[in-house]
Symmetry: C2
Subunit: 276 residues, 2 copies
């Protein structure tokens, strides 16, 4: 609503469910070009750079850095030419350093890595604020928030306070590089277990695997149901995959401790021993 | 955006700063008729019913039940004919019972009487949901939230939890009738002090006085500055009136204890004795 100006086209990279929702909303505003999609591969991977065909003079290029449902994640920022890169980083923000200078706008709901739900972080390159149209409602106009230090309205003060505490915890955990090392170690342990034998099977292609959401299947849906039931009983709750893709999903956001991964891996080995 | 359909007009009653903001936003959507205003009286009163001229077939009539800056409040729900009544009840919701059956839509930010900031309560008459247009963005379409039990997105869960606790406290305080009696007693004590002599002067006309925001002046601006400074030093903080109107403002929302009013009244008497 702020960046897609009249007569221009926005490029969207379609990597899964959240990208599809973003595309749907953008089409209400203006012209949208899907500049690459891995839908034909059930979104099991991130597109290769050669697959992306950008619109010359695009208003911006939109990407989803991590796909929670499909368990995929961009490993590097794509080259998008001169158009500003807009990134929905809701599910992997501050899980690793990013080159903010290569982004025009980054937005992220707080509830994965930032703090409690009910806060959204937006970082926008200052020159892009010029695009906002005067017909926008005051609260929907990014200029309102930029010009008022994000205090035009009374925001979610408690949520922002807890977000501040989370940022202090993040700094004490070694900052973005420190948390990246921890996140890589957590995910590596779980993917190693998935890859160990043929019982478990990762659904995302290896080069596109997410450090935040590890998706995997078992040999049969019946075994998946049993796994989910026994895991929940063992205190490993929330492992059922999204209904769109089925299977299992282990979310390893910043706040999830490495010890939790160890417990899950032990449970998986024991489950395979008994049921495999 | 949801109720003002193409070709129709919305009636707005202009009772102060928040009404002016609502009118400004409505004009971005469609035709707006200001159906009565007390601007000429510096918004020191609520309009009489005879002053309101409604548009036949209006999409709705919008009112602001309490005006925080000007210290005025509607004492009864106006007769608005057949148009649905839309009420911004942000600053006096649940301070007293209201006849919800006479409203088409009530909306209220949580941060006065409901709970922490970052939550907005919307109550809408079911048939009015039919007006929402398919061109609305998903998150701005009331149908999205009505059809998904207000859980289409991940909302401000902590804020809603605390709101629930506040509702339990409200029930334990005698419900809406109980809190109304307390609020009336609190405001009556403060207005009695304002009216006692000629030193303090209420800015809202007597028939329009708010139970939530009590606005008053002192004989001079210098005395107001001194009052504010000494009150703050005595632990009575936040009494400075909004910069638009000056003077003093004591906000007596549900959570403010009656004992706090007693302390303020004592301070006012002592201040007048020393400085009057």
């Amino acid at each position: 609503m702020n960046l897609l100006t009249s007569g221009s086209t926005a490029d969207y990279i379609d990597t899964g469910s959240w990208a599809v929702k973003a595309i749907k909303e953008a089409k209400r505003v203006g012209s949208v070009h899907v500049t690459g999609s891995t839908k034909a591969d059930s979104y099991s991977r991130i597109p290769e750079s050669g697959e992306l065909k950008f619109t010359p003079g695009a208003a911006y290029v939109h990407m989803t850095s991590n796909n929670t449902i499909e368990g995929t994640q961009w490993k590097s920022i794509p080259e998008v030419g001169n158009a500003p890169l807009v990134c929905d980083a809701s599910s992997d923000i501050f899980s690793r350093p990013i080159d903010i200078g290569r982004h025009g706008l980054v937005y992220a709901g707080a509830q994965k890595n930032l703090g409690p739900s009910g806060v959204t972080l937006v970082m926008i390159r200052e020159d892009l604020l010029q695009r906002s149209n005067d017909s926008l409602h005051t609260m929907l106009d990014y200029r309102t928030h930029a010009n008022n230090d994000s205090l035009y309205n009374t925001p979610n003060t408690f949520g922002i306070y807890v977000l501040g505490l989370t940022m202090k915890w993040l700094r004490a955990s070694g900052g973005l590089s420190g948390i990246q090392a921890i996140n890589e170690r957590k995910a590596a342990k779980l993917y190693a277990e998935i890859d160990r034998g043929g019982f478990y099977r990762g659904t995302a292609q290896k080069g596109s695997r997410s450090l935040m959401n590890v998706t995997f299947r078992l040999p049969t849906e019946d075994l998946e149901k049993t796994f989910n039931k026994e895991a929940t009983a063992a205190g490993l709750d929330g492992l059922k995959g999204h209904r769109l893709v089925g299977g299992m999903r282990a979310s390893l956001y910043n706040a999830f401790p490495e010890a939790g991964v160890d417990v899950l891996v032990d449970f998986m080995r024991e489950f395979e021993r008994r049921r495999g």
